[in-house]
Symmetry: D2
Subunit: 403 residues, 4 copies
């Protein structure tokens, strides 16, 4: 594998076609063939027009080994303009590096934090890269990572180098999940206060829910239970040793009593989330949050990493976010249950989670049922995933994982 | 003062009248003359009938030096049965101690934590006395502290002895606020994440709001601003060096820009709270919370010590608490702002706050404008306080503060 | 099993012989046959003479299911008077309860925290039971737990009830280690800052070292390595998946490079400890600490739960503790490595660790090679353990574990 | 003041003389007149020869408004080669910025963190800039800040911009202390666990000790006591409301009893430090640490920000640091007192401390008795400070503070 990387250099890339998965105006995706643009920022949907044409000297170009489809990609479809490049989960090889890049070298195999940040603003300095004030400096929607080549700004700050590329390729499916969903699930568990010996309930058995459950177990939870309505996803959860609750079968506290002998758990995580449409949130979102309020023990915390806003990724709340959720806040107060919503600061969690994967402690690819497909299969995979497939789709544009 | 205490002993108390402030069925208060009952649990409204007549061997009887009127007393009026003994803020002299009491002695001057707890359940052991499972073991509503004599169970756990009684009497108004509102305000600041160098906004300029503001300053906040609609209370706040915002004058972010040059602060505290009536919360409560969501910086926290439930103090949420608040949760998620509601665990904060008062660092009585009155003046004081007086009323049933 | 418990009651215990393991003046142990004394404090070595004859109304009498031999028992031999009752690790059945005991019932199966504490002093209230000011109130050396019956004061505070006695008996060897060594090892890992994804080195492969290593893994360490000079103990460590280093084979940093590719780990734990003899510590103790300073990464912490003082258990440092250790403190400062020595506050860690055992996540009895023997076998077991046996000896005075 | 800045630009600087304070081989200092070298790294003592002549594109040139003399400057004298540029405390105006600098502009008034770091290594990413692996990349000893112009690498990461330059100039003496000693003292208090309501003892009444004491008070300490042998420094401490102990007057616990009624305090800070000479530390250093072990309450922490190693600033411990300190470690273990030595990560603490100064909460210049002198007065000031003057010397090379 390493030899493949070493051979790559930017001089041979000029003129290369860069297949790029983009949103359609109908809410789907298609592949566009674009010219390779290297370190120069493109113009068009998703790119900051004020920066178009700029050479990003602190950036690198990544040739993806893998780039995944995420639930939040689907939230964007229909909301972003036709032609917006999709994708933000990226693991790959550095093929070009700008002049101001100091520590990242061509040929290195790296993971990229999905919420690309500047490393220099007040928020980045305290590891809250999720609140970086420059996050939309170049790209307004993710990274455009579902492509043959991807520009990543502030590269020294945003990439995580794997210490041993060969060993990393053996665990590449697991490591691919470091770019977003494993840190997202882990963040949910951390802000929910999950610690040794505690009981945990996760709402949602999709990839983020399973990552939250796996993280909770890794953090020492004595019991981890996942709830969903999709029996395929629940079956996957149970296969990996988590308790599974079909939320349509009765009130959550009652079902918890049957499983663990208590109507509540020490910590809960919302891995469902919601989108606000036209100022009105889906009523089901409030129902999920209220069920978590009722199922969290006094003094416990609800971790809410799931997607709740109707803005684009990384955006701050705009004035149009007046959508209100009817929450049982009196009950939350009486129980002393806190609500902790936020996007994950990916970079903060990547180093420990990488080491957990490399030491064999977190077999996350198995748990989320990661499946490798080609870039050309992505159009169908978006549809399948949207329909509830119990699968995490991992795109491999260059066939690098299939040795 | 100490000599007064030393002279007291329980043998002379048998047959004594115990004036007790109780709720009326009209939602007001009146004074009842009751027989002194010592360590024996009474029967009647507010007392656990299963325990009536029991001698509480781990309890003490306190002769109040002071006992205050609290906003949450007023929440109870109309909700509790006629004849329920009122009050939970208590500072006084031990006049009787049960056989199982080990470390608390007759004659000692002590502060009593308002949320009396057992010291032995899983929650008490981790200092979450606010979630004590035995808190209603003897009394279902507070302590009945607005009286001449008060029974306090689990005395060794629930009382804080002042190291030097004479010095304590010099600062007795400040120390009286250790029983509830100073810890409540401090708790709000702590769970809001207030720390050195941060900017803080407190909603509500009543005694709890002022205590929260004073606590935020003590915790190192560089700017502390209070909002209210009551100009008298705002004037009191400004007199003590806090910024004051009349919330009717415009959107909170706009007013913050004028005061501190930014539309949000690092931490916010809700010292307003709300009661749910017949399943419907007051609409204004959601408005306060939503204004705090809009005024908290990304990654910040909202501390919510104010009263939000329609249960009695210390109670867990009942099934009838279906009242829902329309919260701008999408905005909270996008900003990464957490909501941290809970009753204060008073005992956890008492020792450091006592030392802060004794060393002269927290002049809290001045800040909340504490005023001493007799037990007989309490009926009027309840009315004044309910009408928005910029005053904290401190009852002195035995005239012990007026040397 | 439960029926056995239920049958027990104190009336049948009067006149019973209470076999008690005591220290000899030669530095060994012997069994004495004593009269059952129930809740009345005995007189003699190890008992507070000021309290002799007192009925401990807040205490219970425990009939041990198990009581273990600990390394710190051996530190006491030779230092305590002839006839001092030995032992502080205790798991058993409540057979008698004093009048002031509220929540602990005869017949319950419980674990007892080795550092018995009052639950009411300033230290206990903040979960620092290891600094309880009343810990020597009744007994000056441990609990005298290696006996047929054991008095435990402040029972409601000091015992941990297992939620399901029958299930607990299935895991009784694991649960027996909750009384001391599992919390001790866990405390070492916690104060060393062990967390997810970090690398850990433990000095000492005795029971506490293995418990520290198991705790570090449970806390999420990606690599855990143990060092010792005893190859039997190292073999046991390796059998359970830990790295093993024979410290006589070369400098620690060099050996670490071979195992993990770096000369230091993120966190280190000293499970060796030392005793000061006549004012002079063993030189080897400083050598262990200095090797940890050299092997801890910059910014890391050394957790030091091992026994370092020449006082009796629970005692504060006396004036005679002038023994000084030659530490490479300049190196510690330059590396920013902190030294965190302390006795474990057992009660703080028992609930989560109990749940970890009951859910099958911590198979600690296997890891430390726990072996059940009779009380009568204890004399030989002390000698074996002192000679370095790779075994944790668990005494079962009444044959209750052998169903 | 601002206009002065605006007028400055690098074109007029070429050919300017850059007066630079350098070490002499006799252990003193002298002023050298050097050519202005802008963003190009010089060669000579203190500069990395492998980088000599490199244009530091991510760097800026600062024209100092102030640059202070620090105790650690004096530790270097005699240890560094003749001609080494001195100084690391720097506050000033950006007069030149490299091509890769993104957010720092010419004309801005900034504070520079004394331990210049890269912002991109594993340590910097977790705010442990004191362990930056690239800290010696360009300069091996501090910054050479005591000069007319100073090169600062990784400028976007290392400088803190004051929000309002004019207001900042009003408080410039206080803000000058943000570069090192205020964060150093604050760090000592933080790692000592100082919090609201606790009692604190600081060993050493020099500028760092006073900064630690002021920080402890700001963090909410109820009592702060400083010990020293220098009566002038103690007088300064007492003038600012701290307790003062002359350590030659008797054992520390005895003196504490007199002042606060207890033989120990909750937290202690070592602001004395030590240098190892020829492998042997000064005996007095161990004495200071041992006095702190005896004076820290059970469960407390000793914060040790003072200089303990014989390496150059920012260096990791070398093999020659075998100097050992005879510490009463048995007593530390029995008391559960931790030792927390480390260099301060300045950048971590600068933002909150800046806001504390700007809001008027920390009048640190007064407390340490800051005195402004010219660069030409520095030679004498080094001598005075070394002799124990109760003064913090602030150099103003361009006369910018004297409006």
């Amino acid at each position: 594998m390493t030899s493949t990387l070493a051979e790559t250099n930017s001089s041979e890339l000029a003129g290369t076609v860069n297949r790029t998965l983009v949103a359609t105006k109908e809410g789907g995706v298609r592949i566009e063939e674009r010219d390779y643009s290297g370190l120069v920022l493109r113009s068009g949907p998703g790119y900051n027009p004020a920066r178009a044409g700029e050479t990003v000297t602190h950036g690198v170009v990544i040739k993806p080994v893998t780039t995944c489809i995420c639930g939040s990609d689907q939230h964007l479809l229909g909301a972003v303009p036709d032609g917006t490049a999709m994708g933000h989960e990226l693991t790959g090889i550095v093929v070009e590096a700008g002049d101001a890049v100091q520590f990242t070298k061509v040929g290195e195999l790296v993971s990229v934090a999905m919420n690309t940040s500047c490393g220099l603003c007040d928020f980045c300095k305290i590891q809250q890269t999720n609140h970086c004030v420059n996050t939309r400096h170049y790209l307004t929607t993710g990274l455009g990572a579902q492509a043959d080549y991807v520009l990543v700004p502030w590269a020294d700050w945003n990439v995580l180098k794997f210490p041993d590329a060969e060993k990393a390729m053996d665990l590449i499916l697991d490591l691919s999940l470091l770019s977003d969903i494993l840190p997202t699930g882990y963040h949910g568990a951390v802000v929910a206060g999950v610690t040794t010996g505690c009981t945990v309930y996760v709402a949602g058995a999709g990839p983020v829910g399973l990552a939250a459950a796996a993280s909770a177990r890794y953090l020492g939870a004595s019991e981890v239970i996942i709830g969903d309505m999709n029996e395929d996803r629940l079956a996957l959860a149970r296969r990996h040793g988590f308790g599974g609750i079909n939320v349509t079968a009765g009130p959550l506290p009652d079902q918890l009593i049957e499983l663990i002998g208590a109507p509540h758990v020490d910590a809960t995580i919302d891995a469902v989330g919601s989108v606000v449409h036209g100022g009105s949130p889906e009523p089901r979102s409030a129902a999920v949050l209220n069920s978590l309020i009722s199922a969290t023990a006094p003094g416990g915390r609800i971790g809410i990493p799931g997607y709740y806003a109707n803005t684009l990724p990384g955006g701050s709340a705009g004035a149009h976010q007046t959508g209100q959720f009817g929450l049982a806040f009196g009950a939350a107060w009486a129980r002393g249950v806190s609500l902790n919503p936020s996007v994950v600061p990916v970079a903060k969690y990547q180093p420990p989670l990488m080491r957990a994967i490399l030491s064999g402690r977190l077999k996350i690819a198995d748990i989320v049922n990661a499946q490798v497909i080609g870039l050309e299969d992505a159009v169908d995979a978006y549809a399948d995933f949207g329909a509830g497939a119990a699968t995490k789709y991992v795109l491999d544009p260059h066939g690098l994982t299939r040795k």
